[in-house]
C-alpha cells in the first residue's frame, strides 16, 4: 500500500514536471526566434540589479498597497518552495514530516510556525487583491486591455492561491488534533491554523482527521503541480521570468535609443566621396528589413519582456497618451507581442516549421494609430516593476513604418523633408540660424 502511494506520487511528479519543462523549452525556443542582442556585459551590475528589483522587490512599493501585499505573497511563494523539499521526501518515502525528525526541534517549530503564519497572510493578501480587482475595481486592473482571458486569469490565480493555502491550514490543523489525541508524536508548531480551524476539527475522530490531513496534503501537492503548469498560460509566468528579465534589462540611460549599425554603414558609404555611389552593395551587408513588422523581427530581449509582463498596468496608468484617451496602452503592446509570438510558436508546433499565416504583429495585433500616439516619454519604462521596455518595441515598429513603408503621418513626412532640406524640422533656412543674435 505504502509503496503504491509513493509510485503514484512519483508518477504525478514526473508527469507534472515533465510537462512544465516541455512548456518552458517551448517558450525558450519562441524567445530565441527573436533577433540577437548582446546583454552579457557588466555581469556584476546586472546581478545587483536583479537582486534589488526581482529578489528584493525593489520597485513594488511605488504603489504601497499593492506592493505590501505583493511582498507577502512573494514571501509565501519562497517559503512554499522550501516546503517542497519536505513534500518530496515525505511523498517518495512515505514518511511524515521527515525534516522534523532530522533538524532541531526549535528550528523546525520556527519554520512550521512561519509557514503557518504566511499561509494565512497570503490568504488575506490574495483576498485584498480579489477585492481590488472585482469590488473596488482599481482602474488599471479593469481597463479594456484586460477583457476576456486576462481578467479570468487574474482572478483564477488568486482563487488557486487561496485554496492552496487553505489546504495547508487544514492539513496543519488536522495534524495538531491528531497530535493532541496522542495519535502522532509532537512535531512542528502551528499556532495560526490551530487558532482558525482547531475548534472545527476538535470533535472529529482519528479516522476523519487522517483523511482530512492526507487529502489536504495531496490537494496541496497536486495544486503545486497544477500551478506550475498553469503558469504557461498565465501572466504569472513573471514569478519565474522576472529574474532573467531584470538581469538582462537595459543598463543604458532611458533616453538612449539603440543605434542601427547596418544604417551607419550605409550612411557612411553614402557620405563618403571616395565610394562609387552606383557600385552594388556587397551581399549580406543590408538587413532584409529595417525595424520590425513581426514579432520575430524583435530582439529576444523584447520577447522575454513580453513573456515577463505581469499585466499590472502600471505602465499604462502612467502613459500620457493613455491617460488622455488615446488608443495606445504600453501594457497592451506587451500583451500583443506575447500573443503574436505564441501564435507563431503554435504554428511551429503544429507544422514543424513556421507556415505563413497571413498575419503579422504590425497591423493585425498592433495598429499604427497606437504607435503614433507615443511621446517616447519613458513613463512606461520607469513604472514597470520588472524593468520591461515597451518603448523600444514601439520605436522598432515605427522604424518599419517609416523606413520600409514610408507610412508616417503626413505632417511627420513634412517635418522630415524639412530636415533633409534645411537641417531643421521647420521650413527655415540654415543660414538664418544665428539671427536671434541681432533681433
Amino acid at each position: 500500500m505504502e509503496y503504491l502511494r509513493s509510485i503514484l506520487f512519483l508518477a504525478f511528479a514526473i508527469g507534472g514536471i515533465g510537462l512544465f519543462v516541455r512548456n518552458l523549452l517551448r517558450i525558450r525556443r519562441n524567445i530565441l526566434l527573436g533577433k540577437k542582442s548582446n546583454r552579457s556585459d557588466q555581469p556584476s551590475v546586472r546581478l545587483k540589479l536583479m537582486a534589488r528589483i526581482a529578489i528584493g522587490q525593489g520597485k513594488m512599493m511605488a504603489k504601497p498597497v499593492a506592493g505590501f501585499f505583493h511582498i507577502i505573497v512573494y514571501l509565501g511563494f519562497l517559503i512554499v518552495n522550501v516546503e517542497l523539499i519536505e513534500i518530496f521526501i515525505d511523498g517518495i518515502f512515505g514518511t511524515h514530516r521527515y525534516l522534523g525528525h532530522i533538524i532541531p526541534t526549535q528550528l523546525y517549530n520556527f519554520v512550521t510556525a512561519t509557514l503557518d503564519f504566511l499561509a494565512v497572510s497570503v490568504m488575506i493578501s490574495v483576498s485584498v487583491f480579489f477585492i481590488r480587482r472585482n469590488i473596488t475595481k482599481v482602474p488599471r486592473l479593469n481597463s479594456r486591455d484586460l477583457i476576456g482571458w486576462p481578467k479570468i486569469d487574474g482572478n483564477l490565480i488568486l482563487i488557486i492561491e487561496f485554496v492552496m493555502m487553505f489546504a495547508l491550514l487544514s492539513m496543519n490543523s488536522a495534524d495538531i488534533n491528531l497530535q493532541l489525541l496522542d495519535h502522532r508524536e509532537t512535531l512542528g508548531y502551528f499556532p495560526i491554523s490551530h487558532l482558525i480551524l482547531g475548534n472545527a476539527f476538535s470533535g472529529l475522530s482519528v479516522h476523519s482527521l487522517i483523511i482530512i490531513e492526507k487529502s489536504s496534503w495531496w490537494f496541496h501537492y497536486l495544486g503545486i503541480l497544477f500551478f506550475m503548469n498553469y503558469l504557461y498560460f498565465s501572466k504569472h509566468l513573471h514569478i519565474l521570468f522576472a529574474f532573467p528579465n531584470t538581469y538582462f534589462s537595459n543598463l543604458n540611460k532611458k533616453g538612449q535609443l539603440n543605434s542601427l549599425e547596418a544604417i551607419t554603414k550605409e550612411v557612411r558609404s553614402m557620405m563618403d566621396p571616395n565610394i562609387d555611389p552606383y557600385a552594388a552593395t556587397p551581399e549580406g551587408t543590408i538587413p532584409e528589413k529595417f525595424g520590425a513588422s513581426d514579432a520575430t523581427d524583435l530582439s529576444w530581449i523584447q520577447l522575454l519582456n513580453a513573456y515577463t509582463c505581469t499585466e499590472c498596468g502600471r505602465c499604462t496608468s502612467n502613459c500620457p497618451a493613455n491617460l488622455t484617451g488615446k488608443k495606445l496602452s504600453p501594457r497592451k503592446i506587451m500583451m500583443s507581442v506575447r500573443d503574436r509570438i505564441e501564435d507563431i510558436g503554435k504554428n511551429i508546433n503544429k507544422n514543424g516549421i513556421f507556415i505563413e499565416d497571413g498575419k503579422q504583429l504590425l497591423g493585425d495585433y498592433i495598429t499604427s494609430e497606437e504607435l503614433w500616439a507615443c511621446t517616447t516619454c519613458n513613463a512606461c519604462v520607469e513604472s514597470c516593476p520588472v524593468l520591461i521596455d515597451p518603448l523600444s518595441i514601439i520605436i522598432d515598429l515605427r522604424r518599419y513604418l517609416v523606413m520600409e513603408q514610408s507610412a508616417a503621418p503626413q505632417e511627420l513626412n513634412m517635418m522630415m523633408a524639412n530636415m533633409e532640406n534645411n537641417s531643421a524640422p521647420w521650413q527655415f533656412s540654415q543660414s538664418d540660424r544665428a539671427n536671434w543674435i541681432h533681433e
Binding site: K253, K254, G255, Q256, L257, S259, L260, T264, E266, V267, R268, M271, F290, G291, N318, P320, A321, T324, G325, K326, K327, L328, E369, W372, A373, C374, T375, T376, C377, N378, A379, E382, L397, R398, R399, Y400, V402, M403, A408, P409, E411, L412, M414, M415, M416, M419, E420, S423, A424, P425, W426, F428, Q430, S431, D432, R433, A434, W436, I437, E439
Partner: protein, 253 residues
C-alpha cells in the same frame, strides 16, 4: 565658432542652440536669456551658427534612423573639426541626443543641460542672485521627460530655481513620475491622435491645480506646450510659463 577657429582659439564651451532655440519666436527668448547669463558669468562661449544642424532627435524618434544618422554624422564632422570638448544646450532633446546617441557615431563630448551648467555657475559663485525679485512667488516646475526620466536630472533645475528664493512647489506627478507635456517623440510636429483630451491640457491643469504664479520649464518644447495650455485655460494674464534661464536672468542684473 568659425571666427574663433580663424583666430586659432577655442572657447570654454560651445552653446548648442538647437532648432527651436534658433527659429521659434518664444524659444529665442530663452536662447537670449541663457546667452545673457553666460555673458554675465563671463563665460567664453561660441555657437556654430549656420553650421549647426538639427541633432536629428525628432527623426530618430519618429522611426527614421536613416535621416537621424545623416544629421548626426554631419554634425559630428563639424564638431570634431573644431575639436569641441564641452557643449551646453538649453534643449533636453539636443542634450539627450548629443550626450547619449552621438558617441556611438563617433561624437564624444562632455554635454551639459543648461540647468546643470547654471547650477555649477551658481555654486562656484560666478553668478549671484540679488534683489529677491521672486520672493513670495509660487513657482511650480515641470520636469521635461528628456532631462528627468531619460537622464535622471531632477535636482539641477530645482537647485537653480531655489536660488531665486521663491516658493518652489511640486505637482502631484513630478520627478520620476512626471507627466509628459505631449511634445516628445516628434509629437510636436503633428496633430495628436484621437482621444478625450490633449496631453498639454492635462499637464497644464495639473500645474494650475497648485495655483502657481509661474510655471517653470527647462525645455523649449515643454514651454510651447504649456504656454498653449495656459492660453486654452485663459490664464495667460495670471500665470506665466518661463524657462529657468529666463527666471534666473531676470533675477540677476
Amino acid at each position: 565658432m568659425a571666427e574663433y577657429a580663424a583666430e586659432g582659439k577655442s572657447p570654454e564651451v560651445l552653446f548648442w542652440v538647437g532648432c527651436s532655440g534658433s527659429f521659434d519666436e518664444r524659444a529665442k527668448k530663452i536662447t537670449k536669456a541663457f546667452a545673457s547669463l553666460l555673458q554675465k558669468a563671463r563665460i567664453d562661449f561660441a555657437i556654430l551658427g549656420q553650421e549647426e544642424g538639427c541633432t536629428g532627435d525628432p527623426a530618430k524618434r519618429a522611426g527614421n534612423e536613416f535621416l537621424f544618422q545623416m544629421q548626426a554624422i554631419m554634425n559630428i564632422e563639424v564638431l570634431n573639426s573644431y575639436e569641441i570638448k564641452k557643449i551646453v544646450t538649453a534643449c533636453p532633446h539636443c542634450f539627450n541626443t548629443l550626450k547619449n546617441e552621438y558617441p556611438q557615431l563617433g561624437g564624444e563630448y562632455e554635454v551639459l543641460h543648461h540647468a546643470q551648467f547654471l547650477q555649477n555657475l551658481l555654486y562656484e559663485g560666478r553668478l549671484k542672485v540679488e534683489g529677491g525679485n521672486f520672493k513670495g512667488k509660487k513657482i511650480v516646475f515641470h520636469d521635461p521627460c528628456y532631462l528627468g526620466r531619460a537622464n535622471d536630472q531632477y535636482e539641477a533645475p530645482r537647485q537653480v530655481l531655489s536660488a531665486l528664493e521663491a516658493d518652489l512647489i511640486e505637482m502631484k506627478r513630478c520627478r520620476q513620475n512626471g507627466l509628459c507635456c505631449g511634445a516628445g517623440g516628434a509629437q510636436m510636429f503633428k496633430e495628436p491622435e484621437k482621444g478625450i483630451k490633449d496631453i498639454n491640457i492635462e499637464r497644464t491643469e495639473e500645474a494650475l491645480d497648485k495655483s502657481p504664479n509661474i510655471i517653470a520649464t527647462g525645455c523649449p518644447f515643454c514651454n510651447t506646450m504649456l504656454t498653449d495650455g495656459i492660453k486654452v485655460k485663459e490664464k495667460s494674464l495670471q500665470v506665466f510659463v518661463k524657462d529657468l534661464a529666463e527666471l534666473l536672468n531676470e533675477a540677476i542684473n
